[in-house]
Symmetry: C2
Subunit: 391 residues, 2 copies
């Protein structure tokens, strides 16, 4: 049984039906009776199961501020949110938007809104966007926001949202008041685990459902996949909850294989992630220093600026930070921001993390050099050699 609360997504259930899978759209599951092997829907209907897959996802965090439920205030997690935002933007002919938060969804949304001709401001508690990246790298993101007309308000705590004078909404912050047509909360998501908790599934330290490498939960015949469950992090060796679509897809496939009798284990993640911000690529993988310490490593890092392409081909500025374990030389993480090639570098380094390479190997990796795509010494090599010297 496929559960789909979102009636706007009409095509997906149809596609399932074509394959003979029974789909109940708009069916909200109220509870699971594991002993009896049934789920109870909102309309009191009970549906039996032999195997249950928890794919309840994550939900956007919606701050409990005065006025935070006004029309024009949105979070962004699923397709329904996106459709609601688009409908509102069209109907209200919006000119100004405020994004509260400065993670990668905030960055992506600022580009989308600004490109749609809507003057956008980002309010962030911290001083620089995208906490996961080194402040030096985040500074380039800040420049890119400014270059593209996005206002960035640092150290901003939003305390309430009230009606505006010239615009329908007004965000009240410790930095002053800003009016806008639309306010978007982009302050993160958390795993949707109410049902799982109620039925007694083991919840991990991350707050997500604990699973083994076959996506099995603590109860027999109950699987969990995607944003609601944990993944094994190959570098930290700890379970993590990383709500990203590619991980969810993989876990779904692994669960399906195991349920279908062709067992396969999920080999885990290394924390690879990327986003685009106008002309800038931002990507990161592995652990940052704090996470490395929590995982009992002794991290040391280096951050290098360079050119993503060969000098004679022009300049595509790129910054690359590498983090390694001082004792073993093992690569622990990497962060990159650049006008080209950041994702490419982070993907190569994600494979290096996957395989547990140390920085001496990273310093001499054989990469597909040609001038439009890198120098003869790639910034990966240069950064790894700089890090070795630092050690």
């Amino acid at each position: 049984m496929i559960k789909d609360k979102n009636k706007l997504i009409a095509r997906t259930p149809e596609k399932f039906r074509e394959t003979g899978i029974d789909v109940e759209s708009g069916a909200e599951v109220l509870s699971v009776n594991y002993e009896r092997g049934t789920i109870e829907l909102k309309d009191n209907k009970k549906v039996p199961f032999d195997i249950l897959v928890m794919a309840t996802g994550a939900k956007a965090i919606s701050p409990d501020l005065p006025g935070a439920r006004k029309p024009g205030i949105f979070t962004l997690k699923n397709l329904e949110d996106a459709i609601n935002i688009k409908t509102y933007l069209k109907e209200k002919k919006c000119r100004k938007a405020i994004i509260i938060g400065a993670g990668f969804i905030a960055m992506e949304m600022s580009e989308s809104l600004q490109n749609a001709g809507i003057q956008t401001a980002i309010f962030h508690r911290g001083s620089l966007p995208a906490n996961r990246w080194d402040p030096e790298l985040s500074k380039l993101m800040l420049e890119e926001l400014k270059t593209n007309g996005v206002e960035f308000v640092p150290s901003a705590e939003t305390t309430a949202i009230k009606e505006g004078k010239d615009f329908p909404l007004c965000a009240v912050t410790n930095q002053g008041q800003w009016e806008a047509d639309l306010i978007l909360f982009a302050v993160g998501v958390k795993p949707n685990v109410e049902l799982a908790k109620a039925m007694g599934l083991k919840i991990g330290q991350t707050g997500a459902i604990a699973v083994n490498s076959r996506q099995q939960t603590s109860l027999d015949n109950v699987y969990a996949v995607g944003d609601c469950c944990e993944s094994y992090h190959r570098v930290s060796k700890h379970p993590v909850n990383i709500p990203l679509g590619d991980i969810a897809n993989k876990q779904g496939r692994i669960a399906g294989r195991n349920i279908g009798g062709k067992p396969l284990t999920f080999p885990g993640v290394v924390g690879a992630q990327s986003f685009r911000l106008f002309n800038l690529e931002a990507a990161a993988t592995g652990l940052d220093e704090k996470e490395a310490i929590l995982s009992n490593y002794n991290p040391i890092s280096t951050l290098l600026w360079g050119n993503a392409i060969a000098q004679q081909m022009g300049l595509k500025k790129i910054g690359l930070k590498l983090i390694a374990d001082k004792s073993s030389g093992k690569l622990l993480g990497a962060q990159a921001v650049g006008f080209a090639g950041a994702v490419s570098r982070i993907n190569a380094l994600s494979v290096a993390l996957w395989a547990g390479l140390n920085i001496d190997e990273v310093a001499y990796l054989d990469l597909a050099y040609s001038p439009p795509y890198s120098g003869a010494w790639d910034i990966i090599h240069n950064a790894a050699q700089a890090l070795r010297r630092a050690i």
Copy 2:
């Protein structure tokens, strides 16, 4: 002592001189007397050495055809060649060029010449450009050549070059006669090993100087680096001679470290390579099927076409071929051609080859997914899963 035959490159020797290194520009080494520890220059000058580094590079193959020494006929290996070609193009106001050969230098040159407003034709013995790539992938290169106005003449054997009627040169081939201002031989290079042979250095089966992982040759205190020597191929486990600048740079550094008393070994190559052809990225790594068989593997491959970016971001067609060992599932090689992301994929797969991953791991690699750079399932994952099914 740094040897530099090319007087046109005046700045590099100057830079060396600034560091106190003695440089003799235009000094051609006639012979090496290893027992006496001296080299003999063309002007009979003898220079003593304690340590000798052979960095004699490769030389372009120049077919021995009737008329092949006429003005306007060039090979392309070093900066001097490039300067000569550029000078000729300017002075003669060239309108038409012929490139004989269809490897990656031929591809790059066709783009450069065509972009400079010179109508370019490629003559190739085979039926498709870039032998290293699967014919299916090479077909996309052929389309890109045509889209950009480059003529591609397959199955063409050039037998002579004579004077033309409307243009200074005329290439006589089994496919007819073509006139042009400029003819470029791009039919490969071979290692420059005359001196090495004369002094008794061991030459490997590839025809290049044999070295160990410290870049030491068969004679004490004689090192070799770059296009004139071999490299250890981590996948085939055989020595190879791959004349690429990034490998040469790495080997130079390794030799320098060992000579300078900070020993370091060259970990070898996986055969990563790339070039740009107008809007197309072409990249390859590892072994193809033939090489795999020669290395005692049992290769099986799959070739998948897809989109380098997420569907909702548009279409950037990409083709990816993966080659694996049927018995062990070990990844052996990969080839990609696409309008985006081919180099990025091949770099990630080069690290996978470096680390010896099998395709089951490749199928679930954690890559930095976001829609501008890939689908949630990257073509790497899809191709690896398709290959697993094929096995």
